[in-house]
Protein backbone atom coordinates (compact mmCIF):
# COMPACT_ATOMS: atom_id res chain seq x y z
CA UNK A 1 0.00 0.00 0.00
CA UNK A 2 2.42 2.69 -1.20
CA UNK A 3 1.27 6.02 0.17
CA UNK A 4 0.62 8.32 -2.76
CA UNK A 5 3.11 11.21 -3.05
CA UNK A 6 1.34 14.35 -1.70
CA UNK A 7 0.18 16.49 -4.62
CA UNK A 8 2.96 19.04 -5.16
CA UNK A 9 1.32 22.25 -6.23
CA UNK A 10 4.65 23.94 -6.72
CA UNK A 11 5.23 21.70 -9.79
CA UNK A 12 6.12 23.84 -12.73
CA UNK A 13 6.47 27.09 -10.81
CA UNK A 14 9.16 29.47 -12.10
CA UNK A 15 11.99 30.41 -9.74
CA UNK A 16 10.61 33.94 -9.36
CA UNK A 17 7.13 32.60 -8.38
CA UNK A 18 8.67 30.13 -5.90
CA UNK A 19 10.78 32.89 -4.32
CA UNK A 20 7.88 35.36 -4.15
CA UNK A 21 5.59 32.73 -2.59
CA UNK A 22 8.21 31.74 -0.03
CA UNK A 23 8.94 35.39 0.83
CA UNK A 24 5.23 36.07 1.52
CA UNK A 25 5.04 33.03 3.79
CA UNK A 26 8.13 34.33 5.64
CA UNK A 27 6.68 37.79 6.12
CA UNK A 28 3.28 36.46 7.18
CA UNK A 29 5.02 34.44 9.87
CA UNK A 30 4.45 30.76 9.01
CA UNK A 31 8.12 29.93 8.89
CA UNK A 32 7.74 26.18 8.44
CA UNK A 33 5.97 26.56 5.11
CA UNK A 34 8.51 29.19 4.06
CA UNK A 35 11.46 26.90 4.79
CA UNK A 36 9.89 24.07 2.73
CA UNK A 37 9.32 26.37 -0.23
CA UNK A 38 12.86 27.76 -0.05
CA UNK A 39 14.28 24.21 0.01
CA UNK A 40 12.26 23.21 -3.06
CA UNK A 41 13.55 26.37 -4.78
CA UNK A 42 17.13 25.48 -3.89
CA UNK A 43 16.66 21.91 -5.16
CA UNK A 44 15.02 22.98 -8.40
CA UNK A 45 17.05 26.06 -9.28
CA UNK A 46 20.38 25.73 -7.53
CA UNK A 47 21.92 28.63 -9.50
CA UNK A 48 22.00 32.36 -9.29
CA UNK A 49 20.94 34.99 -6.86
CA UNK A 50 17.66 33.33 -5.89
CA UNK A 51 19.34 30.19 -4.52
CA UNK A 52 21.73 32.26 -2.37
CA UNK A 53 18.96 34.52 -1.11
CA UNK A 54 16.89 31.41 -0.36
CA UNK A 55 19.69 29.98 1.77
CA UNK A 56 19.93 33.22 3.73
CA UNK A 57 16.18 33.40 4.23
CA UNK A 58 16.12 29.76 5.47
CA UNK A 59 18.60 30.67 8.21
CA UNK A 60 16.49 33.72 9.17
CA UNK A 61 13.22 31.70 9.09
CA UNK A 62 14.64 29.01 11.35
CA UNK A 63 15.81 31.72 13.79
CA UNK A 64 12.35 33.27 13.88
CA UNK A 65 10.87 29.79 14.33
CA UNK A 66 13.03 29.37 17.48
CA UNK A 67 14.87 26.45 15.84
CA UNK A 68 18.31 27.51 17.08
CA UNK A 69 20.24 24.40 15.98
CA UNK A 70 18.76 24.37 12.44
CA UNK A 71 19.45 28.06 12.03
CA UNK A 72 23.11 27.69 13.07
CA UNK A 73 23.63 24.79 10.60
CA UNK A 74 21.98 26.83 7.83
CA UNK A 75 24.31 29.76 8.60
CA UNK A 76 27.42 27.55 8.64
CA UNK A 77 26.41 25.99 5.32
CA UNK A 78 25.99 29.45 3.78
CA UNK A 79 29.40 30.55 5.05
CA UNK A 80 31.03 27.45 3.50
CA UNK A 81 29.21 27.84 0.17
CA UNK A 82 29.66 31.60 -0.27
CA UNK A 83 32.73 32.72 1.68
CA UNK A 84 33.00 35.93 -0.30
CA UNK A 85 29.31 36.88 -0.35
CA UNK A 86 28.90 40.68 0.07
CA UNK A 87 26.56 40.59 3.07
CA UNK A 88 28.16 37.62 4.86
CA UNK A 89 28.42 39.87 7.91
CA UNK A 90 24.60 39.59 8.25
CA UNK A 91 24.97 35.81 8.59
CA UNK A 92 27.55 36.14 11.39
CA UNK A 93 25.28 38.68 13.08
CA UNK A 94 22.34 36.26 12.75
CA UNK A 95 24.40 33.51 14.40
CA UNK A 96 25.06 35.83 17.33
CA UNK A 97 21.36 36.69 17.57
CA UNK A 98 20.35 33.02 17.66
CA UNK A 99 22.46 32.42 20.77
CA UNK A 100 21.73 35.83 22.28
CA UNK A 101 17.98 35.51 21.96
CA UNK A 102 17.00 36.29 25.51
CA UNK A 103 13.47 34.94 25.58
CA UNK A 104 12.75 36.75 28.81
CA UNK A 105 9.42 37.54 27.27
CA UNK A 106 6.91 40.13 28.37
CA UNK A 107 6.56 39.20 32.05
CA UNK A 108 10.31 38.81 32.40
CA UNK A 109 11.02 42.37 31.36
CA UNK A 110 8.40 43.75 33.69
CA UNK A 111 9.66 41.68 36.62
CA UNK A 112 13.26 42.70 36.00
CA UNK A 113 14.41 39.15 35.20
CA UNK A 114 17.93 39.89 34.14
CA UNK A 115 20.12 37.74 31.98
CA UNK A 116 22.88 37.44 34.56
CA UNK A 117 20.84 34.84 36.37
CA UNK A 118 20.25 32.68 33.37
CA UNK A 119 22.21 29.99 31.48
CA UNK A 120 25.76 31.36 30.98
CA UNK A 121 26.79 28.81 28.32
CA UNK A 122 24.45 30.22 25.62
CA UNK A 123 25.59 33.75 26.46
CA UNK A 124 29.27 32.78 26.08
CA UNK A 125 28.55 31.35 22.58
CA UNK A 126 26.65 34.51 21.64
CA UNK A 127 29.64 36.61 22.73
CA UNK A 128 32.00 34.52 20.54
CA UNK A 129 29.70 34.78 17.50
CA UNK A 130 29.43 38.57 17.80
CA UNK A 131 33.17 38.89 18.33
CA UNK A 132 33.81 36.93 15.11
CA UNK A 133 31.58 39.46 13.31
CA UNK A 134 33.32 42.53 14.73
CA UNK A 135 36.77 41.05 13.98
CA UNK A 136 36.01 40.00 10.37
CA UNK A 137 33.86 42.96 9.38
CA UNK A 138 34.76 45.87 11.69
CA UNK A 139 32.92 48.35 9.50
CA UNK A 140 29.81 46.23 8.88
CA UNK A 141 26.56 48.04 9.64
CA UNK A 142 25.78 45.34 12.20
CA UNK A 143 29.07 45.88 14.07
CA UNK A 144 27.87 48.66 16.40
CA UNK A 145 24.84 46.68 17.58
CA UNK A 146 27.05 43.60 17.95
CA UNK A 147 29.51 45.56 20.11
CA UNK A 148 26.70 46.85 22.28
CA UNK A 149 25.33 43.32 22.71
CA UNK A 150 28.83 42.07 23.52
CA UNK A 151 29.12 44.54 26.36
CA UNK A 152 25.72 43.52 27.66
CA UNK A 153 26.86 39.88 27.51
CA UNK A 154 30.10 40.54 29.38
CA UNK A 155 28.18 42.41 32.00
CA UNK A 156 25.70 39.54 32.26
CA UNK A 157 28.51 36.96 32.58
CA UNK A 158 30.20 39.08 35.24
CA UNK A 159 26.86 39.48 36.97
CA UNK A 160 26.42 35.71 36.91
CA UNK A 161 29.71 35.13 38.72
CA UNK A 162 28.77 37.80 41.27
CA UNK A 163 25.36 36.21 41.90
CA UNK A 164 26.97 32.85 42.60
CA UNK A 165 29.53 34.47 44.91
CA UNK A 166 26.75 36.21 46.86
CA UNK A 167 24.84 32.93 47.17
CA UNK A 168 27.85 31.08 48.57
CA UNK A 169 28.44 33.93 51.09
CA UNK A 170 24.78 33.62 52.19
CA UNK A 171 25.22 29.86 52.39
CA UNK A 172 28.42 30.19 54.46
CA UNK A 173 30.68 28.51 51.89
CA UNK A 174 33.41 31.14 52.08
CA UNK A 175 36.11 29.32 50.03
CA UNK A 176 33.67 28.97 47.11
CA UNK A 177 32.62 32.61 47.48
CA UNK A 178 36.18 33.99 47.49
CA UNK A 179 37.18 31.89 44.45
CA UNK A 180 34.18 33.17 42.48
CA UNK A 181 34.87 36.75 43.59
CA UNK A 182 38.51 36.47 42.52
CA UNK A 183 37.23 35.04 39.19
CA UNK A 184 35.26 38.28 38.68
CA UNK A 185 38.29 40.43 39.45
CA UNK A 186 40.51 38.37 37.10
CA UNK A 187 38.23 37.71 34.10
CA UNK A 188 35.76 40.58 34.21
CA UNK A 189 38.09 43.38 35.21
CA UNK A 190 36.26 45.94 33.04
CA UNK A 191 32.81 45.33 34.48
CA UNK A 192 31.02 47.18 37.30
CA UNK A 193 31.31 44.23 39.68
CA UNK A 194 35.01 44.48 40.54
CA UNK A 195 34.42 46.77 43.51
CA UNK A 196 31.82 44.49 45.10
CA UNK A 197 33.96 41.43 44.31
CA UNK A 198 36.91 42.87 46.21
CA UNK A 199 34.68 43.85 49.13
CA UNK A 200 33.26 40.35 49.20
CA UNK A 201 36.75 38.82 49.20
CA UNK A 202 37.71 40.97 52.17
CA UNK A 203 34.72 39.73 54.15
CA UNK A 204 35.14 36.11 53.03
CA UNK A 205 38.81 36.02 54.04
CA UNK A 206 37.85 37.51 57.39
CA UNK A 207 35.27 34.77 57.94
CA UNK A 208 37.96 32.19 56.92
CA UNK A 209 40.29 33.64 59.53
CA UNK A 210 42.86 34.62 56.86
CA UNK A 211 43.30 38.12 58.26
CA UNK A 212 46.49 38.86 56.25
CA UNK A 213 44.75 38.13 52.95
CA UNK A 214 41.71 40.07 54.13
CA UNK A 215 43.76 43.18 54.95
CA UNK A 216 45.73 43.00 51.70
CA UNK A 217 42.53 42.76 49.67
CA UNK A 218 41.14 45.68 51.63
CA UNK A 219 44.21 47.74 50.69
CA UNK A 220 43.70 46.84 47.01
CA UNK A 221 40.02 47.90 47.32
CA UNK A 222 40.99 51.18 48.93
CA UNK A 223 43.60 51.80 46.22
CA UNK A 224 41.32 51.14 43.26
CA UNK A 225 38.04 52.45 44.69
CA UNK A 226 38.97 55.19 47.20
CA UNK A 227 35.42 56.36 47.69
CA UNK A 228 33.98 52.84 47.93
CA UNK A 229 31.04 52.49 50.35
CA UNK A 230 32.36 49.11 51.39
CA UNK A 231 35.36 50.79 53.03
CA UNK A 232 33.18 52.13 55.80
CA UNK A 233 30.93 49.15 56.60
CA UNK A 234 31.73 45.62 55.56
CA UNK A 235 30.10 43.65 52.72
CA UNK A 236 26.81 42.10 53.88
CA UNK A 237 24.23 39.80 52.39
CA UNK A 238 21.60 42.02 50.79
CA UNK A 239 18.35 41.44 52.72
CA UNK A 240 15.33 41.58 50.43
CA UNK A 241 12.15 43.30 51.72
CA UNK A 242 9.38 40.72 52.02
CA UNK A 243 7.07 42.46 49.60
CA UNK A 244 9.53 42.06 46.73
CA UNK A 245 8.42 38.46 46.57
CA UNK A 246 9.09 37.99 42.88
CA UNK A 247 12.84 38.63 43.16
Amino acid sequence: CATTETYDETRGWSVEKLYAEAHDELNSGNYNRAVKLYETLEARYPYGRFAQQAQMDIAYAQYKDNEAALSITACDRFIKLHPTHPNLDYIYYLKGLVYFNDDSGLLGKWAGQDMSERDPKAQREAFLAFRELTVRYPDSRYAPDALDKMNKLVDALGGHEMHVARYYMKRGAYVAAVNRAQGVVKDYANTRYVEEALALSVEAYRRLGLTKLSDDNRRVLAATFPKSAYLQGKWAVEELPWWKFWK
Binding site: R171, G172, A173, Y174, V175, A176, V178, N179, Q182, V185, K186, Y205, L208, G209, L210, K212, L213, D216, N217, V220
Partner: protein
Protein backbone atom coordinates in the same frame (compact mmCIF):
# COMPACT_ATOMS: atom_id res chain seq x y z
CA UNK B 1 9.41 37.98 72.63
CA UNK B 2 11.18 35.34 70.74
CA UNK B 3 8.87 32.63 71.99
CA UNK B 4 6.09 34.07 69.84
CA UNK B 5 8.41 34.28 66.82
CA UNK B 6 7.39 31.12 64.98
CA UNK B 7 10.80 31.03 63.38
CA UNK B 8 12.41 29.70 66.48
CA UNK B 9 9.82 27.11 67.54
CA UNK B 10 11.61 24.41 65.55
CA UNK B 11 15.34 24.60 64.81
CA UNK B 12 15.78 24.12 61.05
CA UNK B 13 18.27 21.58 59.72
CA UNK B 14 21.42 23.23 58.32
CA UNK B 15 23.13 21.57 55.38
CA UNK B 16 26.63 20.26 56.10
CA UNK B 17 29.10 22.89 54.87
CA UNK B 18 32.55 21.46 54.02
CA UNK B 19 35.11 23.79 52.46
CA UNK B 20 38.73 23.62 51.39
CA UNK B 21 41.42 20.92 51.39
CA UNK B 22 41.17 18.04 53.86
CA UNK B 23 44.93 17.37 54.14
CA UNK B 24 46.09 14.83 56.71
CA UNK B 25 49.15 14.61 58.98
CA UNK B 26 50.80 11.88 56.87
CA UNK B 27 50.62 14.17 53.78
CA UNK B 28 52.25 17.01 55.73
CA UNK B 29 54.93 14.59 57.01
CA UNK B 30 56.12 14.09 53.44
CA UNK B 31 56.72 17.83 52.88
CA UNK B 32 60.37 18.91 52.60
CA UNK B 33 61.56 22.52 52.08
CA UNK B 34 62.98 23.11 48.59
CA UNK B 35 60.24 21.07 46.89
CA UNK B 36 58.91 22.57 43.67
CA UNK B 37 55.32 23.80 43.44
CA UNK B 38 54.40 20.72 41.36
CA UNK B 39 55.76 18.40 44.07
CA UNK B 40 53.85 20.24 46.81
CA UNK B 41 50.73 20.07 44.65
CA UNK B 42 51.29 16.29 44.27
CA UNK B 43 51.74 15.72 48.01
CA UNK B 44 49.05 18.03 49.39
CA UNK B 45 46.74 18.35 46.35
CA UNK B 46 45.70 21.56 44.59
CA UNK B 47 45.15 24.43 47.07
CA UNK B 48 41.53 25.63 47.20
CA UNK B 49 42.60 29.07 48.36
CA UNK B 50 45.36 30.71 46.28
CA UNK B 51 44.90 34.45 46.55
CA UNK B 52 45.65 36.30 43.32
CA UNK B 53 47.55 39.02 45.13
CA UNK B 54 49.78 36.54 47.03
CA UNK B 55 51.36 34.36 44.39
CA UNK B 56 54.03 33.20 46.86
CA UNK B 57 51.70 31.51 49.36
CA UNK B 58 49.12 28.74 49.25
CA UNK B 59 46.57 28.40 52.05
CA UNK B 60 45.26 24.89 52.70
CA UNK B 61 42.17 26.04 54.66
CA UNK B 62 39.71 23.41 55.93
CA UNK B 63 36.31 24.22 57.44
CA UNK B 64 33.50 21.78 58.42
CA UNK B 65 30.11 22.95 59.79
CA UNK B 66 27.60 20.22 60.69
CA UNK B 67 24.03 21.30 61.46
CA UNK B 68 25.24 24.87 61.85
CA UNK B 69 27.92 24.12 64.45
CA UNK B 70 31.64 24.47 63.62
CA UNK B 71 33.28 21.05 63.82
CA UNK B 72 36.68 21.69 62.20
CA UNK B 73 38.48 24.94 61.33
CA UNK B 74 42.11 24.31 60.28
CA UNK B 75 44.67 26.26 58.29
CA UNK B 76 47.94 25.02 56.81
CA UNK B 77 49.95 27.60 54.86
CA UNK B 78 52.94 27.04 52.59
CA UNK B 79 55.28 29.84 51.39
CA UNK B 80 57.39 29.73 48.25
CA UNK B 81 60.44 31.66 47.19
CA UNK B 82 60.08 31.58 43.42
CA UNK B 83 59.38 27.91 42.67
CA UNK B 84 60.97 26.37 45.78
CA UNK B 85 59.09 25.64 48.99
CA UNK B 86 60.52 28.03 51.60
CA UNK B 87 58.58 27.20 54.83
CA UNK B 88 55.25 25.84 55.94
CA UNK B 89 53.24 25.90 59.16
CA UNK B 90 49.78 25.09 60.50
CA UNK B 91 47.85 22.03 61.55
CA UNK B 92 46.17 19.23 59.60
CA UNK B 93 43.61 16.49 60.13
CA UNK B 94 44.82 13.32 61.93
CA UNK B 95 45.98 10.85 59.31
CA UNK B 96 43.56 7.97 58.65
CA UNK B 97 44.66 4.46 59.79
CA UNK B 98 48.09 3.82 58.22
CA UNK B 99 47.09 0.42 56.80
CA UNK B 100 49.13 1.21 53.72
CA UNK B 101 50.92 4.45 53.12
CA UNK B 102 52.63 3.55 49.90
CA UNK B 103 50.43 2.04 47.23
CA UNK B 104 53.32 0.07 45.76
CA UNK B 105 54.04 -1.82 49.04
CA UNK B 106 53.14 -5.54 48.86
CA UNK B 107 49.61 -6.44 49.87
CA UNK B 108 49.45 -6.71 53.67
CA UNK B 109 47.42 -9.81 54.41
CA UNK B 110 45.33 -8.78 57.39
CA UNK B 111 43.54 -12.05 58.11
CA UNK B 112 39.77 -11.72 58.06
CA UNK B 113 37.90 -13.47 60.99
Amino acid sequence: CTSMNPMTWVAPHHMEIQQGNAITADNVARLKPGMTRAQVRFVLGSPMVADMFHADRWDYKYQLYQNGKEVKNLLFTVWFKGDALERFEGDALPSDKPTLTDASAPVVANKAP
